[in-house]
Amino acid sequence: MNWTPDQPIVSLINVHKSFGAFEVLKGISMDIMKGEVVCIIGPSGSGKSTLIRCINALNDIQAGSISVEGQEVHDDNLDKLALRKKVGMVFQQYNLFPHKTALQNVMMAPLKVLKQNKVEVEERARALMKKVRLEGKENSYPGELSGGQQQRVAIARSLAMNPDVMLFDEVTAALDPETVKEVLVTIKDLASEGMTCILVTHEMGFAREVADHIYFTDKGVIVEHGPPATFFDNAQDARTREFLGKVL
């Protein structure tokens, strides 16, 4: 199947995922268009993180279909490298390589995975460090950086692979309140440049401001979804209203 940009860049159809006997996702479907910013919110344990981890095949699924740019992810013969070139991911705990400097962290995947030219990779990595506003921190090791700085390095590291879609898994949840903002600003920059972003987040203000579409999940299903204005101000479902009442 040839994908064209007028089709959803990420498409989930009736996705089921279980850990043993415990069913985490019970039939999730969503379509995300190129350039869209989508926030997935919901109570803990509702399967949000599992959901986006399935999109880049870090978790497998039991039934349903996930496709990225027309390529089926739920496939035993999946070309994982091809998928991961398209989909970047940033984690809650940053997960930087502690034995490499910030710049080396950003350079590593293009060098070792894509085997690109070192001079060009370094040039791009330096530009990315500048983009996430970490100029001057190139030679610092992750252990010498604050949480917010580490998370921005992690974003730059992901961007170095030139992905078409970025997944953010509660990337501000482990941060101090004052550093949350610097990371959100970076993500906002990305979104405004037209990067397709799928975020799992608890930052309701941010979701409202940046997202094109909000999904609310609970107990493995999508309870309600819609553009932020309708979603936040005019929620239909009782569970959504209860959740929003707690967090807003």
């Binding site: 870090l58 984690f91 390589f97 590593m108 610092s140 590291r157």
Partner: protein, 251 residues
């Protein structure tokens, strides 16, 4: 000057018959000490390198998806860790050595393609390697799963993740235990004596068989040599540990 030294030890041997430093005034014995020491150094260095390589390869194989491969590594560890290295040396040289092909350099003599030194290297490397696999495995297990996941998400294969992320971090965790095991290995090279590898212990015993009065001095040579060799190894490992230290990582 040299003459004076030789004269001093000759006189010492006459005055104190149990302190005959015969190698200081007899060239043949001096050569034995030097060649024994050299063999010990060669044996130690080669076995250290091989055993570390075996340890890394073994630790990588333990991550294999195939249960068969993991089973082989487990069997290897159990065999080499739980039997005496002395017996292993005998087994390799006499039992396996009997099956190794021979070649004939001069058309007369049949020489096995693996010499006793070769068997000592193989046997001791596998012996220490078994411990190294376990040491590296502990290091590998200390690397957070989430770090490996991040590298996987960036497109690294399992092997690349091991080579570029897991191993460099595991090595750092493993250095102290590795240090201990390598010290042990250097000391265990003396057991190659049993298959007549002409290392320092072997040469020392040859000397004191010829000169019973040289037994005390030869023991002194052995202690001093091993203290020095192990000392150098430990210094090197400590330096390596410092060089590998990551700023801001760990305590």
């Amino acid at each position: 000057m040299l003459d004076a030294v030789q004269e001093f030890f000759r006189q010492l041997a006459t005055d104190y018959p149990t302190w005959n430093f015969v190698f200081f005034y007899e060239d043949r014995q001096w050569d034995k000490v030097v060649s024994g020491l050299w063999m010990t150094i060669k044996l130690s260095v080669i076995c250290v390198v091989f055993s570390v390589v075996i340890g890394i390869v073994g630790a990588a194989m333990q991550r294999a998806r195939s249960r068969f491969i993991r089973g082989i590594v487990q069997a290897y560890i159990q065999f080499f860790r739980n039997t005496p290295p002395f017996v292993q040396l005998l087994f390799f040289y006499f039992a396996l050595g009997a099956f190794t092909p021979t070649y004939s350099p001069d058309g007369w003599l049949e020489v096995p393609i693996i010499s006793n030194v070769g068997w000592a290297i193989i046997s001791l490397s596998f012996f220490a390697g078994a411990f190294n696999v376990e040491i590296f495995r502990a290091g590998v297990e200390a690397v957070p799963q989430s770090t490996q996941e991040a590298s996987e998400a960036l497109g690294f294969t399992r092997l690349q993740t091991f080579a570029y992320v897991v191993l460099p971090l595991a090595l750092r965790v493993s250095i102290p235990s590795l240090n201990n095991n390598l010290v042990n290995l250097v000391k265990t090279t003396t057991q190659a004596f049993v298959i007549a590898v002409p290392e320092l212990l072997y040469q020392s015993i040859t000397i004191w068989n010829d000169f019973p009065s040289a037994q005390n001095p030869m023991m002194l040579v052995l202690f001093v040599s091993y203290l020095a060799l192990v000392g150098i190894l430990v210094l090197g490992m400590n330096k390596w540990e410092r060089v590998m230290r990551i700023p801001g990582y760990g305590a």
